[in-house]
Symmetry: C2
Subunit: 265 residues, 2 copies
């Protein structure tokens, strides 16, 4: 998504050229290029699919909407399995229209995880609940802290449900380092993502994630936390940024790789 | 600040007309109208000044900047005393330019509180550390949760340093209710403010606070928490909202009073 301006073949080619060994994919571009076709493309290029983003949006109250959401998440699990990744990232969803009940919404996520966890396990896929920054609590994700994400995940086996650790969403939280240790001890860090925090935030606060090194987050500090917690998996850089999307995709990918080396490697 | 389009005499007049018994004032409009003149105006109208907003911005590293900030905060304490309010709200300040050290910034706030607390006490003024929403952690306030605000405040006597409880900043936090109980038990809820959470957030995320009832926050729920914690002080409505500011101020004040009755009283 960091370089969504690249087509799937351009992305795979650019990763090969830059020596980037793995990539997190999003469902829409995969569906658009074709699921089997994407799977074949990355397999033949020797590129690892680190995660599939994203399932989730599991907070609906209406039974028909809930059924539809669960069906879509089973499909996302199937897609992950086809792409050869073992991790599906879940963005839980916001408050249903008119609701002010965060606690109830979080409980409905737990209900959904109970249904989806075994389905995913059978297909070799783990669910990675991602806490999103509290500024998304109303309209995107009622799971706002790593503590909350782990409180949900720990109701299930770690090989079914873990968490996504993303610096952008948790950097402000002084309890996050201890929660990373908690997640690591339980084998629940299913992916680790980097983005920097820059201000001012854009309208809608969705597409202002900063290039590594441009903002307030010490990437090495957070990398040290997950490593101390035993994490040895891939590190993803996920930048939603209108400025980066307006530029040449290969150039942005090369810059991102260089920034990763400078600020995180 | 909710009706900053009103002049000080218009504000005082409108409060009297609507039966609003108290008002939180901001420093800039007070200074602009004149400190002594404002004090006389509210005193003669029988209007209580609930709080003065705001001191703070105490995170600078540079010694000259720190001295300047402390001087300005002493002046704010003096202003609060002159206005006859016992509470000065503090917005702590963000990260200094180039710094990524949230912990260090929070410690410098503690140092400043140690200097300001006794000064305020001598003048009959309490400092109310306000946790701001985590989306302001970089550029406005490194104190992001009620837990952090209390961790700071509890290093000092409660009659010197307490906290501001503002629904807008803490509504997403499932630990906030227990922290309100903690604050109340220690006599540290120095003011209670209401604003609703509406989306999408505007660019810069500063002036999008929702009118009561327009958003995701259950005002009565939070009012019940502070009341259960023993709080009996004034309840302020503080809305930074470009849309409200563009309208007739008296109309907005009347609407706000009506919304308060409907959603919080």
């Amino acid at each position: 998504m960091t370089v969504k301006q690249l087509s799937m073949p351009e992305l795979v080619d650019a990763c090969g050229e830059l020596g980037i060994p793995g990539v997190g994919l999003w469902r829409a571009p995969v569906q658009s290029y074709g699921l089997e076709r994407t799977a074949k493309l990355v397999r033949e290029a020797g590129l690892t699919v680190t995660t599939l983003c994203r399932g989730g949006f599991l907070t609906a109250i209406d039974p028909a909407e809930r059924t539809k959401a669960l069906d879509d998440n089973r499909l996302a699990v199937d897609e992950a399995a086809t792409l050869g990744t073992d991790t599906l990232v879940l963005v839980s969803g916001g408050l249903p229209a008119g609701s002010k009940d965060l606690h109830g919404a979080r409980e409905r996520i737990a209900d959904a995880l109970a249904a989806l966890g075994p389905y995913a396990e059978e297909r070799g896929v783990r669910l990675a609940v991602e806490p999103l920054h509290p500024m998304y609590a109303a309209d995107r994700c009622v799971v706002s802290t790593l503590t909350q994400a782990l409180d949900l995940a720990e109701r299930f086996p770690a090989h079914q449900v873990g968490v996504t650790v993303d610096t952008y969403h948790i950097w402000w939280d002084d309890r996050a380092p201890e929660q990373i240790a908690r997640a690591g001890a339980g084998g629940r860090i299913h992916t680790f993502q980097l983005a920097d925090w820059t201000t001012p935030l854009p309208e809608g606060v969705l597409n202002g994630r900063g290039q590594l090194g441009d903002g307030s987050i010490d990437m090495r500090e957070w990398k040290a936390y997950v490593e101390a917690a035993g994490y040895t998996g891939p590190i993803e850089v996920e930048l939603f940024n209108d400025g980066l999307w307006a530029r040449d995709g290969r150039e942005v990918l090369a810059e991102t790789a260089a920034r990763f080396t400078r600020h995180a490697a």
